[in-house]
Symmetry: C2
Subunit: 481 residues, 2 copies
């Protein structure tokens, strides 16, 4: 896997940069021979995924249980819920044959999402009494969509390899509502750990999940100003429980319909992570998810080779024992080539250089991925390194916040909105009706993302709809992935 991969295009040309960095930094290999949307995770990409999903699991495990449901959904179960099917039937892969050429009695769907694998067969059996509630389960699985749109690694896939889907059951509509809010809070915490700013909003009625009362969504503004939906939480009301007979006996002995929610995140979180932080030189990763957090580069001069080597090894041992993910680069390359490797390929947050002069001075030289240099006293190594790491995490957050702040622009007319949406997200007053939304979407080729916007850059002010002039609240519009 040691190929010369040429130069990375500048990040300004985002689409080229994105495709190239996945390859250069060995995140995904797109040469797998299924047309579009089926890709291979390189070990380096997978290590990043592992660190990222470890955070997601940590947050979920506080009050969810992890579980695993089957991937194959029988056609008859899948077809039970009309509205839900309508939302997915055009995207389903069907298994029709097993064992050579024998046709299956019942075709099996590859799960596009697991409501029909979980609710009718299992939740309908498991939910019996109010004492069983709430149920809060999640799974991290591969799901499949027969995409007809343009596919793109990590973003629009035929095999989504890393779909985290949570499915909860509650006694009341209000408890389910609280759960949706908890889910959104959890996602916000998750993205904060990745140093990725997100905007939460309530999707318009026509853009909610098939079979939901409402949908809250989490969007990231990508470097080219288009938004990427990176998490959704759905209040399902009693929509599925009514169809699938998911009822519980309440404290008075009466049968009641249960209320449900579901919420999901896919490997789009990795796409957001890479796109938010990367630069013209390559990958930039927050310490929380970097497969290698510290690269030690010994500066070796012949006369004192053994001494430098021993110092580098001692450094590595001490940092590893403190819990850091560390690699020491003893390869016989020029230091410059090593820096290039760790920056481009690794996105390594911190490089430590140690040479004879550093040993003499009782220090190590630290250089962050953004080029900030600082010496750290060798005899106070751990607090010194942690301080540099924490500052680097803060820098990444601020840098990302600053960018997104520039990308969210208020607009009070169609013309202003068009200009704003050219750069990123336009915030417009919108009356809430579908006709006005269609008028906006047609006029300037954007999507109305949602209302009830949760973002510190969007003020909840009253206004008048930019189409019909009726009283309006802020909505966000943008070009989307």
């Amino acid at each position: 896997m040691q190929e010369d991969k040429g130069a990375l295009p500048p990040k300004e040309t985002f689409s080229e940069w994105y495709n190239d960095i996945l390859w250069q930094a060995e995140i995904m290999d797109v040469r797998y021979p299924v047309k579009g949307g089926v890709y291979v995770w390189y070990p380096h990409g997978f290590a990043m995924r592992k660190a990222t999903y470890a955070i997601l699991r940590e947050l979920l495990d506080k009050d969810h249980d992890e579980t695993l449901f089957p991937m194959l959904i029988p056609e008859n179960e899948f077809m039970k819920e009309a509205e839900h099917i309508k939302g997915f039937e055009e995207e389903v892969y069907w298994v029709t044959h097993g064992g050579g050429t024998s046709e299956l009695d019942v075709p099996l769907a590859l799960r596009p999402t697991s409501e029909t694998a979980i609710y009718p067969p299992m939740y309908a059996l498991w939910v019996r009494s109010h004492a069983d509630l709430p149920i809060k389960l999640y799974q991290i699985v591969n799901t499949f969509r027969y995409e007809t749109k343009h596919t793109r690694p990590l973003i629009r896939l035929r095999e989504i390899t890393s779909f985290k889907e949570a499915h909860t059951v509650h006694a009341t509509w209000e408890e389910a509502e609280a759960q949706v809010n908890d889910a959104v809070d959890l996602y916000r915490t998750f993205y904060d750990r990745l140093c990725v700013p997100v905007i939460v909003s309530r999707r318009p009625e026509w853009d909610k999940f098939p079979g939901a009362d409402y949908t809250l969504a989490t969007d990231v503004v990508m470097p080219d100003g288009k938004t990427l939906q990176v998490g959704t939480a759905h209040h399902l009301g009693d929509h599925f429980s009514r169809t699938f007979d998911i009822t519980y006996e309440d404290a008075q002995g009466e049968q009641q319909l249960a209320y449900q929610t579901c919420y999901g995140i896919s490997e789009r979180c990795i796409a957001a992570l890479i796109s938010t932080h990367g630069d013209d030189k390559g990958l930039v990763l927050p310490p929380a998810v970097a497969p290698v957090q510290i690269a030690i580069v010994p500066i070796i001069i012949k006369k004192r080779e053994e001494e430098v080597r021993a110092a580098a090894e001692a450094l590595e041992t001490e940092l590893k024992e403190a819990g850091y993910r560390v690699k020491t680069d003893f390869r016989s390359l020029r230091p410059g080539a090593k820096y290039y490797h760790w920056e481009m390929r690794g996105g390594v947050p911190l490089r430590i250089e140690i040479g004879p002069r550093d040993i003499d001075n009782g220090v190590v030289m630290t250089v962050t991925r953004l080029g900030e240099k600082q010496t750290v006293a060798r005899d106070a190594l751990l607090p010194g390194i942690q301080a540099v790491m924490d500052a680097f995490t803060e820098t990444l957050k601020e840098r990302a916040e600053q960018k997104v702040q520039e990308q969210i622009v208020p607009a009070s007319s169609l013309d202003e909105a068009r200009e704003a949406a050219g750069k990123g997200v336009a915030v417009i007053p919108w009356c809430g009706c579908k006709e006005c939304a269609t008028a906006i979407e047609t006029a300037i080729d954007v999507s109305v993302l949602g209302t009830d916007v949760q973002s510190k850059y969007v003020a909840d002010t009253e206004g008048t709809c930019i189409i019909c002039g009726k009283p309006a609240r802020p909505a966000i519009i943008a070009r989307t992935y």
Copy 2:
């Protein structure tokens, strides 16, 4: 999920016991509506799987990289390697349609195993120079087999949800051979951590992996004496590299064929774990993989309720901080009902009881899952508990070893072999030829598992074949799952 589940059948009636314990201990729910071999992991079962696979990952991560390849394999890639296909074509599920009713240009196989998803499309591109070797990758994925035999949870599945498959590439046949041995050592270490004794042997020619030079297999003797194959390692020689053109440039600049191995473990490891240790009362789990390692049961009497409650909480905190997985059972049930719950459902290695008398005496009472009681001084809690845990792990190992030792019986005639195979594994002298194996297998309804047996209970003695009388080496035979 709080159903009254009735009494567990005794373990003597192993097949009933096995099916029932999966349900009673909430490991798998078998009521999923796909006929046979597709099941649901309950949270408790999944937690056990998680702890078990964490050990597998820990062992592999020392010198493998984790990765992820696509689940869908195009028919034309899948069909490239004749011998390999022959081994699997009867078991493959085919996706033929996508998006409603439109037929795919190329049918897609659900991976039954990933050689053809990895070698022709990716390894053929990735392996270029000797500097790229060795490559040692693994993935943990769902795989699919259209089973026509009787399915059984965790053992014979249509969706194998937890297939760990490793795929390595080497410069020479000898290096690949060493890798196969390393793989077997790794599996032995893994099963040792689960306190499950295994027997390693070399499968007969006709039972090796389709496309392998040879196969080493790891078997567990189940309580009913039948063996369960719980891990295999295959030397693939240059079989696949020749077909798929996986070559590297050696140090002299010459193109050379690469040599390959692959080795796998599925959720059968969980079946072996449950079956080896469980008893008439329910689940028994080694501390290494128990989702809950310690259940604290406060013995509450009204007068000193607050005090006992506080003592239990302090205990939990201290044990959790030391890294144990702990639950305190404050439910208002009688202690006996709680013991039953933690034993049956949880297989919890250690229960700690703490009541007023224990507080007065400065101790806690520990009871292992096998009923061994011991008091531990409160002011030396952690070393005390660790000693009890370690002793319990040793007890489980010895108990399992003792059982398997009884199940492995030498035999020097067909009659003796028949009797031995009724109880477990018969060790017989066998000349190695297929005719004699067929004669044995036909006469007493067993399988010849293999030769070159690695087990401390099988001596490598010379003998004469029980069929033809020619010089022979020990082989193991048994009824198999």
